[in-house]
Each structure stands twice: as structure tokens, then as C-alpha cells.
């Protein structure tokens, strides 16, 4: 079995499902949303997080790098990402926190051993949440869910829905709850902003729902991008077809999205003008609630 790339294991998570949870963030995502707030989880391969301010100039990295990616020029230390082959050698020798790996390679057992440490706090409701990136692009993630279920943990998955059908069907057996993103119901716009259309995401959701998956749908609201009434109507339409959806959560875009972007040599794309105001968020929620009522949907709460 292949190892999983884990960007973080966050204990005492209280916002990713019921009770106290441990959230496992897996690296790699099939989408490429321009607003992504976890850029370090997007790429499928591991990456070096580079913090020049923490560098003490010992040059240990340069001496082990097989591709000469660490360049030192008059006091400045540059990481040539174009040369980097992600071998992580520099990370292992760097004494400071200047070079760190975006993810740790871990087996399912190793991850589970970390998660189980908090079992005493999980109680009846708590457990494990898989997040990312996108967890359901690797079959090892399903192994992880299965093993967690075997240990009696509640399992939750945060998915963008753009996942292979066979993995999804497998995962359904071991997942108690899904947070499912619908980023835009306009497929062309979806493609423009995330790199892919939304057809697969929506058909996967309908499939999962028909197989009994409990879900909360999450909709990110990016001002001037997908806050239009047509999108809200589209969301209402999809929700009205779901039998096992419990809630819909609207999340405002937030501009501190790129916090780790600069460490990856990416542009920090946080743009405050895209943040919807509290009033706009309230309007969107009210509108959706109204539409759901119109469609006779009563089992979905709007959060």
C-alpha cells in the first residue's frame, strides 16, 4: 500500500463534524480553485515550504541538494523551484524551520496511531475527519476510513466531489458523514475558476445521496463571482433532489487564503474585494431558505 501525504493532523477540531475530532489533511487536489485557502494541499507531490526569514545561512541544504536548487547570492538565499525534484533531502538536514516539508509521508497505520491518541476525548460523536486537498482521490484514504470505522470512530469526509466513482462507492461504506462542496452551479464558470466543470461533482453527489450518504453541502461565496441569484437557484434545485442532505452551509470567501502561498513561492492571491459582507451572506441564506420552502424541502437547515 502506498503511503499517504499528510499536510497536517489537527487534534481538537471542533468545526469539522460532531464532537471532538482529529482532522487529517491529505495532499493533492484535482481542482485548482483560485481562492484555495490550502494551497499547500493542492499539488499531488510533496513540496518544500521555504521561509527565508528563518534561514540561518548554514548552507546544509545546498550541500545535499541533488539538483542545485538552493542558490546563495550575496546574502540572499533563493530556492529554485523549477529545479527542485521534491526529494526532501534539504528538509531533512535543515536545522531551522526554513525548509519544511509541506507534507509527511505516512502509512494508514501511522496516521491511525496519531488519530487514536485522542480517543478518550471523542466520546460518542467524535472521531476522524478526512480533509485536504481532496482525500478521495487515493484508495488508501478508503483504507484509512475502514480502519477508523473498525475502531469504532465516527468518520467524516470533506470532499470537493471531483473524485473517481469507484473510490467514492467504496468510501460510502465506511463514511458516516460528508461535507460536500458545490462551488458553482454554472459549469462554465466552475471550469473557469476551478479548472474543471461541475458535472462529475453533481452526479457523484446524487449517486452518493441515492446510496444513503448523509451530507451537508458547503457553498463558498465569492463576491461578484458566484453570489448571483441564478447560482442560488441552482443550489436550491440540486438540494431539492437530495434525500439525505441535512444542511447547507454558506461560507464566505476569506482573504487570508494565501497564508502559506508565499512559502510555496506562489503569489498570495488574497483579495479583500471578493469577501461578501455579512449582509450579503444573510441575503443569500434567506433567499435559499425561501427557495427551499417553495420546493417543499423541510429537512435541510440553512447555516
Amino acid at each position: 500500500m502506498e503511503k499517504l501525504l499528510v499536510t497536517a493532523i489537527q487534534r481538537f477540531s471542533t468545526h469539522d463534524g460532531p464532537g471532538v475530532r482529529t482532522t487529517v489533511f491529505l495532499k493533492g487536489c484535482p481542482l485548482n480553485c483560485f481562492w484555495c485557502h490550502n494551497p499547500e494541499t493542492k499539488d499531488l507531490k510533496n513540496e518544500v515550504l521555504f521561509t527565508p526569514a528563518d534561514c540561518i545561512g548554514c548552507m546544509a541544504c545546498a550541500s545535499v541538494c541533488p539538483s542545485g536548487a538552493h542558490e546563495f547570492e550575496n546574502e540572499t538565499h533563493i530556492l529554485r523551484r523549477d529545479l527542485c525534484m521534491s526529494c526532501m533531502s534539504c528538509v531533512s538536514v535543515c536545522p531551522s524551520s526554513a525548509c519544511e516539508a509541506a507534507a509527511a509521508e505516512m502509512t494508514v497505520d501511522e496516521i491511525l496511531r496519531e488519530v487514536i491518541k485522542d480517543k478518550v476525548f471523542f466520546g460518542d460523536n467524535g472521531g476522524i475527519t478526512l480533509s485536504g486537498g481532496e482525500p478521495l482521490i487515493r484508495k488508501e484514504a478508503v483504507e484509512l476510513l475502514k480502519a477508523a470505522k473498525d475502531m469504532g470512530l465516527n468518520t467524516t469526509v470533506e470532499t470537493c466531489g471531483q473524485v473517481p466513482r469507484e473510490i467514492l462507492i467504496d468510501a460510502l461504506k465506511y463514511t458516516d458523514f460528508f461535507y460536500w462542496d458545490i462551488k458553482d452551479t454554472d459549469s462554465a464558470r466552475h471550469k473557469l475558476n476551478t479548472g474543471a466543470g461541475n458535472e462529475k461533482i453533481i452526479s457523484n453527489l446524487i449517486l452518493a445521496d441515492s446510496m444513503g450518504a448523509l451530507t451537508a453541502v458547503r457553498c463558498i461565496m465569492v463576491k461578484g463571482v458566484n453570489t448571483d441569484d441564478k447560482n442560488i437557484r441552482g443550489i436550491a434545485k440540486i438540494l431539492s433532489d437530495l434525500k439525505n442532505c441535512k444542511a447547507v452551509e454558506f461560507m464566505p470567501y476569506h482573504a487570508f487564503g494565501g497564508s502559506k502561498a508565499t512559502l510555496l513561492g506562489l503569489e498570495d492571491n488574497g483579495d479583500k474585494s471578493l469577501i461578501p459582507s455579512d449582509e450579503e451572506m444573510a441575503l443569500v441564506k434567506a433567499r435559499l431558505a425561501e427557495l427551499l420552502k417553495l420546493y417543499g424541502v423541510s429537512n435541510i437547515s440553512v447555516l
Partner: protein, 705 residues
């Protein structure tokens, strides 16, 4: 008016507008300022004062205080009596001669106010007289002490009479209750609260800072009866109780000089838990107290709730709902573990069941215990007597030999501390004289019977607790030494010593390595936690092995903020901190070394065998408001406490606060006057802490636990 909170939910409003206004004034220093303006009574005119024996001097001081202290009766108060002399806030008896206070006063005890309320003070007078009638078996000091107790009661009567006279016409509501209590038994809940407050206020008036103990246990029955008989409503009862809490803030000043925090005078309260019959006593008073501190940001009465897996679910919820507003006002005890810790240390189970604390968080049997603790810095033992001796570096063949030396030195320190106390206090099996403490002795079982003062072996239990500080720093140091110098042989001890004596100058790569690549105590990593656990557990066994017939020497873990005083005299440490850095407080991780969050900290802490730390070991947990929002956040807080109990924790204080708020408070202290944080056992108004304290709390907060 709006009282601040760390939560998104505003504080509920249940109390009347006038009570809330009263609270606002009290919390903003109105009465503290008044007190300071008339600090003390003077003894300058007492003739031949210097000729008097110590009880003679003390008795005059107490009597004068009762006769002359200003009275205060505020419009909104429902209970009467006030500790109006400002010098009491400085922890002395507020009576001066030539400008100097003549006697110190007592704290770190919970008086037996339960007995005082239930019996009435008249009974005490009878007991003293009875004891005095048997002079044949009393020595001179015992007689003088009993006479001093008699004077205490007489002085209390004087003070009481003054309040009776003052309320007779203007405040019949107060007057009617004062006619009965505290000298006779209360006839209802309102009188019981008045009786408690009056006794408490009198001890405070005379400069002492006692705790109140399990007020729900001893007030609960009165309220139950009144509610049953329809004599009172829950809302009325809340107003009465709130009045006592608000009056208890009478020592807050509007403009307190920065220091180690002012807002607490060890007036601890313990709620919930098992009663004498082994049945949970949680009752209406328990919930009313929580209502009050949920509504009013009162940090002056730190509350600790005895919880076990059998405690009512509602109590867990209410505790967490209050905790969520921040201020760290409510902490929790793991009742089952503490009962075991106490019976293991020799208390009868029926006595252990009564446990409360000393006014801070060290557990003891209230109303019958003399208590003091002796803090020491275990890191300095490692640095000055193990890694170095007489300033010279010491080499070790193996980690085991190094640790053996540490354990040996730790043992010597503990034994020296214990025998130091033993020899200073007791000679040939007899207690040596201290200074008079009759006012608190009156409320301590054993003192009348033994005709011995509070500090001279009078109480039923005499407990002295060596408290180890800096253990996580010792653990982390040992971990690095063992791992790098012995197991991996990355560097020699000599090289490490050099780096430390150079305060890491020139060893930045190594320092970065130990700082970033190793995991320390507080991250739930068995390997590194094991060193701290070993230090803590060895310390407990060493302390338990010290024997004295007169004094129970039992272990505990704390620093109470001393990590700040210790910082400048400590050396650089192997885990990367430099000279002068502020290290671990209590049994919490060294700031900045814990990255895995609250659950991991709790797990690391619980790995020690805490049942052996008889007086306790404190853990401080800081949570961000955002992580405990909503119903799920509340559930998560409950889960934290339940996990802490299941894992064998002792005492945990949870604070909900965010760094931004704290920084804002640092910049605009005026706007954040009532923002209080819990720091190692007590609450302080954040703005009254000095810069380093504030910084430490902000840093801890920022780690995003």
C-alpha cells in the same frame, strides 16, 4: 451596561438593574478606592503598648478595628457588613503603630464558615469558655490564646452592634436578619447568606484572606427548604447571593499599580461533588452561583467544581457555558482521583469527602487545616548541582548516572526544605510560638479544643507541601541530554555545556535543531513526556518518604508565576531557550513547545501519577473563542473535561481568550479593566499584570491551542 465576554454570545441578564449597577461600581473599584482612602486604625495612642505580650497587642488591634472601621451600607445590598480598611488589601492586620502594620495576616486557608453558619457564634463563645474553665491543664500561652479568641468574639459583637444600630431605622430588611445572625442559627436562606458573609467579612476586615469552601453544600439545604415552603423564589435567591459576590469585589481598586495582578484574594469557592453520605450535593445554589458568574465578570471568587463521571450532565454544561465567556473563573477538580489521593495520604474517607481548597487550588479539609507550601525550582537543581557543581561542569558516564545524581540532589532539597520547616516550628515535639492568628483560629476546628493557635499546631491537620516547579523544563533538558549526548551521540556533554555557558552564542545551528526538530513535553509524545513524568513521580515518592509526627509533608506541583522571578537566575537550557527566557508554569508545557493542542497537553499532563501529588498539580488550558463556538464547541469543551477526568488529571483551569483581545487590552488598559485571565490558580485582571506576564499570556494564546 454591558459586561465583557470572550464569547460571541453575550452574557445573559437575569439580575435586576440595580444589582447590575452595584456590580459595575464594585468591579470598577468604587469600594476598593474607598477602602484605600482610610487604610487602617491607629494604635499610636495606646499606652505601654510595647509592654503588652503579643496576644495583648493583637487583641487591642482587633478590638480597635471593630470599634473604628468605617461602616458601609450600600443602597442595593442585600447582605450587610464590609471590610472597609484598605491595608487589609495588602495582606496585613490593618492596625498601625508609628505608621507600620503591627501584624501580618493569613491566607491559604478555607475557614470553617459552614460550622459557623450552622451553629451560630454564640456556640463558639460557649466552647471557648468551657475550655477556659479548665485552666489547670493549660499553660500560660494556651490561656492567652483562648482569651484572645474570646476577644475576637467580643470584637465581632462590637462590630455587629454598630451595624445593628446603623440599619435599625434606615434598613429594616438588613436589620431583621442581623438580629439573628451570625450569633444564632439562621432561620432561612437569606439569613444563612448574611451569616456567612458577616463572618467572612469580619475575618477580612481584620486583614485575612480566607476561602469560603463548599458554599452550595452548606447553603443548599436552607434554600431548598425556603423554596419548598414557598418563602422565596429562585430569582430572589439569586439576587441575595449575587449581593454577596458583588460585595466580595470590594477590594478591587480602580487604579491598581501593575504587579502580579490584584483581582483575587484567595477567596475560593468549591462547588458540587459528593456530600458526607456519598451522594452528589449539586443543588440550586450550585447553579445560582454559576448563573451569577456567567452574568457578571467576577473573577474575585475563583470557583472550582468537583466533577466525576457521575456528576449531573447539566453541571458539566453549565460549567462550560460559563467558561466560554472567558476569564477562567471556573476550574475543575477530578473528584474521584482527589479522594483517592487523600485517602492514600492517610485521611479517613469521610474527611476526604469534605475536601475543598486553601483558597487557591491545593486541596485540603476546610475549617480544620493549617496549610502552607514551599515552592522550589527543580531546574536550578539540575543546573547548579547536577550539570555543574560549585560552578564546575560535571561529566557523566551514562544518562543513568546523571539522573541518579539529579534524583539524589532533588531528595536532599526536599528533605532540607521539610526539616527546615520542622525545626523552625517544632522543638522536642512541642510547637514553637508564632504570631497571633486568633481571628482565623476561631474558625478552625481543633484550635479551641487544643487551645493552640492556628499556626501552632491547633488545627486538626497541619499540612506543609513542598511544591516542585520547573519539572517540564527539567524533563525537556534531560530528554535532549539523553537523546543527543548519550543515545545518538550527536555531541558530547562537554560541547553541550559549552553551548549553554555561551548562552547558545555561536551554536545557532544546534539551537535551531533542538528547537525545531525535537518534540517536547506537552505534545503527547511518550518518549519526551517520560522524562517529565519521571521527575514528577520521583519527587512525589521522595516527599512521601519524609516523616514527621506533627506535620504532614505532602507533595504538590506549582509555580504560581514564579517562572518569571526565576527566569533571570536560570541558565540557558539544552532545549534551546536562552538565559532569561520564561519557561514552564505549573505542570504546563514550556511556552512555545506545545504545538499539538489542548487534548495533547492534557494527555501529557495526565501521564504522571497525579494521585501521589496530594495537594495537587495544576494544568492551565487556553482555548480560543472560535474553537468553542456553538453547540458543538460546548460539546467539545465538555469532552475535554471528561477526557481529563478519565485520564486521571487533578485540577484544570480553562480559559477562553484570543490574542487579539489581549493585545488590544495591553494597548488600551483603560478599556479592558475587567478583562480577567486565570494565571496559575488565580484570576487577575489582565491590565494589572506587568508587561512580562502579559507577554507570556499573549504568547501562549497565540499558539492557537
Amino acid at each position: 451596561m454591558i459586561f465583557g465576554t470572550a464569547s460571541k454570545n453575550e452574557r445573559p441578564v437575569r439580575l435586576s438593574e440595580s444589582t447590575r449597577q452595584f456590580a459595575y461600581e464594585s468591579l470598577h473599584g468604587k469600594y476598593g478606592d474607598e477602602a484605600v482612602s482610610h487604610g487602617a486604625v491607629t494604635l499610636d495612642d495606646v499606652e505601654d503598648f510595647d509592654m503588652l505580650d503579643d496576644y495583648g497587642k493583637y487583641d487591642i488591634a482587633v478590638r480597635r478595628i471593630a470599634e473604628q472601621a468605617p461602616l458601609r451600607i450600600t443602597e442595593s445590598e442585600r447582605v450587610c457588613g464590609a471590610a472597609t480598611l484598605g491595608l487589609a488589601i495588602r495582606h496585613v492586620v490593618p492596625a498601625t503603630r508609628n505608621g507600620n502594620a503591627v501584624y501580618g495576616s493569613m491566607s491559604h486557608l478555607t475557614c470553617g464558615f459552614d460550622r459557623a453558619v450552622n451553629e451560630g457564634i454564640d456556640e463558639y463563645e460557649k466552647r471557648i469558655d468551657l475550655r477556659l474553665s479548665d485552666t489547670e491543664n493549660l499553660d500560660q500561652r494556651q490561656i492567652r490564646f483562648l482569651q484572645s479568641l474570646r476577644n475576637t468574639v467580643a470584637s465581632m459583637r462590637i462590630w455587629h452592634k454598630r451595624y445593628l444600630d446603623a440599619t435599625k431605622d434606615s434598613r429594616p430588611d438588613l436589620y431583621e436578619n442581623l438580629k439573628v445572625v451570625p450569633f444564632s442559627k439562621p432561620r432561612n436562606f437569606h439569613q444563612a447568606v448574611q451569616s456567612l458573609w458577616f463572618c467572612f467579612a469580619f475575618t477580612r476586615l481584620c486583614g485575612n484572606w480566607p476561602g469560603l469552601g463548599r458554599i452550595d453544600e452548606y447553603l443548599g439545604e436552607y434554600l431548598k427548604r425556603d423554596l419548598r415552603d414557598g418563602k422565596i423564589t429562585t430569582d430572589e435567591a439569586r439576587e441575595i447571593l449575587a449581593s454577596m459576590f458583588i460585595k466580595g469585589c470590594e477590594w478591587i481598586e480602580s487604579d491598581t499599580a501593575p504587579g502580579s495582578g490584584d483581582a483575587q484574594h484567595y477567596q475560593n469557592i468549591v462547588l458540587g461533588g459528593l456530600g458526607p453520605d456519598g451522594i452528589d450535593i449539586t443543588n440550586e445554589v450550585t447553579y445560582l452561583v454559576l448563573d451569577i458568574v456567567e452574568e457578571l465578570p467576577i473573577g474575585d471568587f475563583p470557583i472550582t467544581v468537583r466533577l466525576s463521571k457521575n456528576s449531573p450532565e447539566k453541571l458539566y454544561r453549565r460549567v462550560c457555558e460559563v467558561q466560554r465567556h472567558g476569564g477562567g473563573v471556573v476550574a475543575v477538580y477530578n473528584e474521584e482521583l482527589i479522594l483517592k489521593a487523600m485517602t492514600d495520604a492517610g485521611y479517613r474517607y469521610s474527611e476526604a469527602l469534605r475536601f475543598a481548597n486553601d483558597g487557591c487550588w491545593e486541596v485540603q479539609v476546610p475549617g480544620k487545616t493549617y496549610f502552607t507550601y514551599i515552592p522550589f525550582d527543580s531546574l536550578s537543581i539540575l543546573q547548579r548541582r547536577v550539570l555543574k557543581k560549585d560552578g564546575k561542569d560535571i561529566e557523566y558516564e551514562s544518562f543513568d548516572s546523571l539522573y541518579a545524581c539529579f534524583k539524589d540532589e532533588l531528595g536532599k532539597t526536599v528533605f532540607d526544605l521539610c526539616s527546615g520547616v520542622q525545626n523552625a516550628w517544632v522543638k522536642d515535639g512541642k510547637w514553637l510560638p508564632k504570631f497571633p492568628m486568633s481571628v482565623v483560629a476561631l474558625f478552625e476546628d481543633g484550635c479551641i479544643e487544643n487551645a493552640r493557635d492556628y499556626g501552632e499546631g491547633g488545627p486538626v491537620y497541619n499540612v506543609v507541601s513542598p511544591h516542585i516547579g520547573g519539572a517540564p523544563d527539567v524533563g525537556n533538558s534531560l530528554y535532549v541530554i539523553d537523546k543527543l549526548c548519550f543515545k545518538e551521540k550527536r555531541l558530547t556533554l562537554k560541547e553541550l555545556y559549552q553551548a549553554l555557558s555561551d548562552n547558545w552564542q555561536g551554536y545557532e545551528a544546534l539551537r535551531q535543531y533542538v528547537t525545531n526538530k525535537l518534540t517536547y513535553y506537552g505534545n503527547d509524545c511518550d518518549e519526551s513526556d517520560s522524562y517529565t513524568v519521571r521527575v514528577i513521580d520521583d519527587f512525589a515518592e521522595i516527599t512521601h518518604s519524609y516523616h514527621s509526627d506533627e506535620i504532614n509533608f505532602v507533595p504538590g506541583v506549582s509555580t504560581f508565576g514564579r517562572q518569571i522571578e526565576w527566569a533571570p537566575v536560570r541558565e540557558a537550557v539544552p532545549f534551546g531557550f536562552k538565559k532569561g527566557d520564561i519557561l514552564s508554569g505549573n505542570l504546563s508545557p514550556t511556552p512555545g513547545t506545545d504545538a499539538a493542542g489542548a487534548t495533547a497537553i492534557i494527555k501529557s499532563y495526565c501521564k504522571s501519577n497525579l494521585v501521589r501529588q496530594t495537594t495537587g498539580a495544576a494544568l492551565d488550558i487556553k482555548l480560543f473563542p472560535s474553537s468553542v463556538e456553538g453547540e458543538n464547541g460546548l460539546e467539545a469543551m465538555i469532552a475535554l473535561i471528561k477526557g481529563f477526568i478519565a485520564l486521571g488529571g487533578f485540577f484544570m483551569q480553562t480559559d477562553v481568550v484570543d490574542a487579539e483581545t489581549l493585545r488590544a487590552a495591553q494597548e488600551n488598559p483603560k478599556e479592558y479593566k475587567t478583562l480577567s485571565v486565570r494565571v496559575s490558580g488565580w484570576n487577575a485582571r489582565f491590565v494589572t499584570l506587568n508587561k512580562e506576564w502579559q507577554q507570556m499570556i499573549i504568547e501562549r494564546t497565540e499558539q492557537g491551542i
